[in-house]
Amino acid sequence: MEFVFTEEQEMIRESAAGFLSDVSNSEAIRTAMVTESGYDADLWQRICAEMYWQAIHIPEEYGGMGLGYVELAALLEQMGKHLLCSPYFSTVCLGVNAILIAGTEQQKQQWLPKIAEKGLTATLAYTGTNGRWDASAVEATYTANDKGYILNGRLRFVPDGHTAELLVVAARVEGSSGEEGISLFVLPSNTSGISRQWLATMDQTRKQAEIVLSDVVLSADAVMENAEKAWPQLATIIQLAQVSIAAEQLGGAEQALDMAVAYTQEREQFGRTIASYQAIKHKAADMLLKVEVSRSAVYYAACVAQECLAEDGDKEFAAELMEASSMAKAYCSDTFFFNAGTSIQLFGGVGFTWEYDCHLYFKRAKSTETFLGNSSYHRELIAACLLD
């Protein structure tokens, strides 16, 4: 049993921390977040060409680095810590995972090298307008004919949906419900019949879009594995995404704590630093506890995710993905919200200004908590396993 980073993983973490503190400082974040795309295209190209992060867990046979989910989580933690504005999460944690889990061999060969080598951006669109995250969220519909498929529907809350070049779309057979009748399709976002609208969001560091499908005609090779019965694949993709978000939340929660501790060590009131007041110390201690427990949750779930993606992965261990990903998402959502909220409190008045970065973390905490289900939602999933 070795539940610590290997030397190589530690190196990945350190180099990510170094690079991101350079390129994703407060000024860079603020410049990117007010644009519609939400990211600096040059920086994305640098990430793809110099760091090769988009390829981290793509298998070598498809042009990737072939590393594991723990390495990916180590990167995501740092991206969350530095609030990186980029299509990384949507491309790698939604797009790549969807193709890895549900893609046909031909789709993998067609798309993964383009992501690994050219930095093609991608995302997953599965939620309709009903605000749910389970199978019932899939509202878009399709009909099959002898040439292929015709898709219709409205998809909402799609991360980077207005900029992604490649879409993985979930749709259901007309008249089906629940986990039945779901298929996944992979298609370029400029396919005719698709219109995409950026939705301005409270958290400006993470962009969302609405996508409308109007009689989108797809050839037969656009459908992914297990047509009509693809819910288990989609569920796995969502669970892997939960692990990824939790890793980002861990980083964000850590940064909210570090910023608050640094500030309270400097700020003096009543003739001493406010960090010397026990009320402040105890809040900081609670924040650190949550960060450390979150870290255990994230890296355990990342180890499970790794077994799930690896061809020769341990099946018994991989079967824990549902539980491990929900636990990580529930715990880290609460942690990030608590830490980001508490950090505003510890900064006092300046914490409430636009100028200080506290609000950026506070808003990211809420948007990531909501996305893919908040902590109550995930606790109910766990409760159902234990009690029903």
Binding site: F3, R272, K281, A285, E292, F317, R379, E380, L387, D388
Partner: protein, 397 residues
């Protein structure tokens, strides 16, 4: 990262599981799942016999080095032992203070002669220990010890011995113990952590009086201990170095037994879940949330412990270590309340008149002490903020 146990470790697991299956039955059947925090007053003679049985099988002090009488078991094997022990319903250990605290301390700081004198009886389960740190005016502020130690040359046929006078309090299992390790002031007029000694005192002597303290459970597992010129058999480390020894001992306190403790917690949580399914509490949406939260907290506690135990850097300020006590103590206190809330009105009804509590009632009440002993939650937070985050130290009065 590698989360699996090796094949050799799994073989070890099978070995201890088989031994427990064969031996933890018959006369010992009734003490399965008994004893331990909150139930410490139950079946002490049977549990003493069990200590000896364990020792015969070579299953006491397994983490100690071979030369100290242990098995030199690896961390993984110790984890496995504690897990299997708890899974099988192994009774609360009465020898845990000797095995987990006194022994490792004597082994680290004692002379060869002292090791020979004290360790074998701990390994064989024949002598029990208790911990004499807290005093009426030295609780969280442990350095405020007032108990005195005075050198008396006339004792032990002119070889000389330290004599102890003062009062200790909250001393768990003092009424069962053969020995107590006592921190006392060996230099008169010394202040705080300077001038202390770490003494080994035999309980059965005229200068030692043990008075049980009744707890809020109506039972008593801790005591007041009065020393009136009690003779200390030995001192571990030099006079004046007691604080160093006492602190090192607290470092032995956390560690591998935590995974066994978690298995006990799992037994409690499973019982609560079974009750919830039976009485319909499992349909209450708020209780469902709380049960899921308890389950999550326990799993994460396990992953935290796995991190803590794999940390090979030996860095005692590793953050997963710092937060561990605060996490489990707070979690367990919440579990106690959850148990009562799942039981609903039945939670009030005792096992028997006049005041015989059910196991879950005892557990619920006892969890209120988890956040007090071994460093209160407030003290834990001070330590986390100071050592983990580098925030200013508390002003000392």
């Amino acid at each position: 990262m590698r989360l699996k146990f090796s094949e050799a470790d799994e073989k070890f697991r099978a070995e201890i599981a088989a031994w427990l299956k064969e031996n933890l039955g018959g006369e010992f059947e009734k003490i399965r799942f008994r004893g331990g925090p909150g139930d410490e007053h139950m079946y002490s003679s049977e549990r003493l016999a069990w200590e000896k049985k364990l020792a015969e099988g070579g299953w006491t002090c397994i983490g100690w080095p071979l030369e100290a009488g242990g098995r030199g078991a690896s961390i993984e094997q110790q984890v496995i032992f504690h897990e299997e022990y708890a899974r099988a319903g192994g009774p609360g250990r009465m020898g845990h203070i000797g095995e987990g605290l006194a022994g490792p301390t004597i082994n680290a700081f004692g002379t060869e002669e002292q090791k020979k004198k004290y360790l074998p009886a701990i390994v064989s389960g024949s002598e029990l220990w208790c911990q004499g740190y807290s005093e009426p005016s030295a609780g969280s502020d442990m350095a405020n010890v007032k108990t005195k130690a005075v050198w008396d040359e006339s004792l032990a046929d002119g070889a000389g011995r330290w004599k102890i006078s003062g009062q200790k309090v909250w001393t768990s299992l003092a009424h069962e113990a053969d020995w107590c390790f006592v921190i006392a002031r060996s230099e008169p007029e010394s202040k705080r952590h300077k001038g202390l000694g770490f003494f080994l005192v035999k309980m059965d002597q005229p200068g030692v009086e043990v008075r049980p303290i009744e707890q809020l459970t109506g039972t008593s597992e801790f005591n007041e201990v009065f020393f009136d010129d009690a003779v200390a058999e030995d001192i571990i480390g030099a006079p004046g170095e007691g604080w160093k020894v006492a602190m090192a001992l607290l470092g032995f306190e956390r560690g591998v037994s935590t995974l066994g403790q978690q298995m006990l917690f799992q037994n409690e949580l499973s019982q609560i879940i079974a009750i919830a399914k039976e009485n319909g509490a499992s349909r209450d949406p708020v209780l469902r949330q709380r049960i899921a939260e308890a389950h999550t907290g326990l799993r994460l506690m396990r992953y935290n412990a796995m991190r803590m135990l794999s940390d090979t850097s030996g860095d005692s300020v590793d953050k997963s270590v710092l937060v561990y006590k605060l996490h489990w103590a707070s979690w367990h206190r919440n579990l106690g309340k959850l148990a009562m809330d799942v039981l609903g009105p039945e939670s009030e009804i005792c096992e028997q008149a006049p005041y015989d509590l059910t196991r879950l009632q005892s557990m619920y009440l006892f969890t209120r002490s988890d956040t007090i002993y071994g460093g209160t939650n407030q003290i834990q937070r001070n330590i986390i903020a100071e050592r983990g985050l580098g925030m200013p130290r508390e002003a000392k009065g």
